[in-house]
Amino acid sequence: MNVRDELKAYYDNELAPAQAEEVRQGLEFDPEAMQELEDFGRISQVLRNEAAEIESYGLEATLGALTAGRRKPDPRQERAKRLGLGLMGAAAVLVMCAIVFPIFAQAKVAARNETAMDMATASSPASAEFRFRDKAAGRLSPGTGGLSPRGSARAKSAVDGSAGPAEAPVQPPMNGAPISGEAGSPSLVVKNAELSVEVDSVPAAQARVESLVRSNRGIIQNSSRMDAGGPIVMSMTLRVPVSRFEPVLATVRKLGKVQTDVVSGEDVTAAVADIDARLKALKSEEEQYRALMSRADKIGEILQVKERLGQVRQEIESLDAQQRTFRSQAKMSTIQLTLQERPKAQPQPPAPVARTWTQKAWAGATGNLQVLWQSLGTVGIYLLVFAPIWLPLGLAGWLIYRRR
């Protein structure tokens, strides 16, 4: 036993009697150990007897806390706790925003993609008729041909082959113009049609149309052909007498599959009557000016009357031209015809194999898993990007809260 290692225990009387005796004997022959023991004793005496007294406080608070069963809150610590919680709450809100916003944005993108897919599906040839019906129902955008609701209704009925109830009030008379109106006065109706027909051969159909127009005393006002390697498209403007409008139209429809069929009529009777009245008044005014000019004897008066007479004459000629145009339009109907070559038959994609419920569930689950991973990845990226904002807040809040 090393005596020196046991000096403190010897001094504190913490050794067994045998050990203590051994140390005591060792000390007799080791003055340095004795000196060390004395030093230990002096230090120990100071520590035990001279440590500053400490006056306690807080017994009542402790007893109160024991009665209440919980620690009495310290206002300063409570404030710090609230601040910490507030900061952590703010950080949590930021995190939530970072999580919710990308999911919301992704949902919007998904919805947009779905719409785009729907549109892509709708543009396939197989759904052309459906698309047309959709348009005919009045949902055409302004840039898709300018079909009026009235014309759209007619187009639909033309394709369906039946006359809907809405068609009756707006259907113009097809027996020619002028015809008797409600008041028994002759009516002038300008009739137009817009047809798009899908045919097997555009040149053959074009020849038939030209022959048809000639035999009905009409003219082909203009025509254009587009052949860019794909299906040939031929646009023609036909002018046929009003009396031949319906038979020509019926024949053209039989050329192939009608894609678009819009017939419109505009009653210009009132406009023509107005022009007639204005012409009559202007002509009367012209006669009066002529009489005035014959009586005028001063140069100034003659010039004034002549100038006014010229204006009146100009107006008369303008109105006369309008009247002729209306009557011409009422006499000759216009048909805007588009002949489109039917696309060559394309190999159909293999029909989807009917799937069992397990296959559907598997496909759904894997799809959802992919969406989940994408969402988590998006959330992670947002959290990372917004970390300079929420991380210091959360960290500060946590530290303040932890200090209580």
């Binding site: 230990f40 520590l47 035990r48 306690s56 406080y57």
Partner: protein
Amino acid sequence: MGPTPVDIGAIAREHYDAVFRFCARRVGYESAADAAQDTFLTAHRVARKYRGDSSVSTWLFGIAHNECRRIARSRRLDAPRIDFVDEHAQESQESRLIDRTALSDALLRLSSEHRDVVLLHELEGLTYEEAASVLDIPVGTVKSRLHHAFLQLRKALQPTGGEVK
């Protein structure tokens, strides 16, 4: 059979000062009341586990030791300085040789393990066995730590050798 929940009030009245001093020497006077209160609240909560193997004060010091460590860690508290008064020194010629300021400085320089055993044994008056119970370490470790702590104190008080100053 440990004290019933009713006893904890009496225990607090009897041992509060000792526990408060114990805490004040470990976390400082400012935080001592919190530590002491937490000590008695914890004691109240775990009173059923107390089997009477050690004295009540030792049991409470054990709890207080853990509470002080927790508070010191959470509040980042350094060990407080322990001052010594010279009044008693006049009674003992030998103790006059000790430089109190140097002793306070030397105590601060001790590691927390060495300092704990010195405080428990010298200032709180616990035996080696009781100190071992409070710190939950073997008695031999207490003896060893105490010996080394005193060697360091002695060395700090006699920088040039010879008797302590």
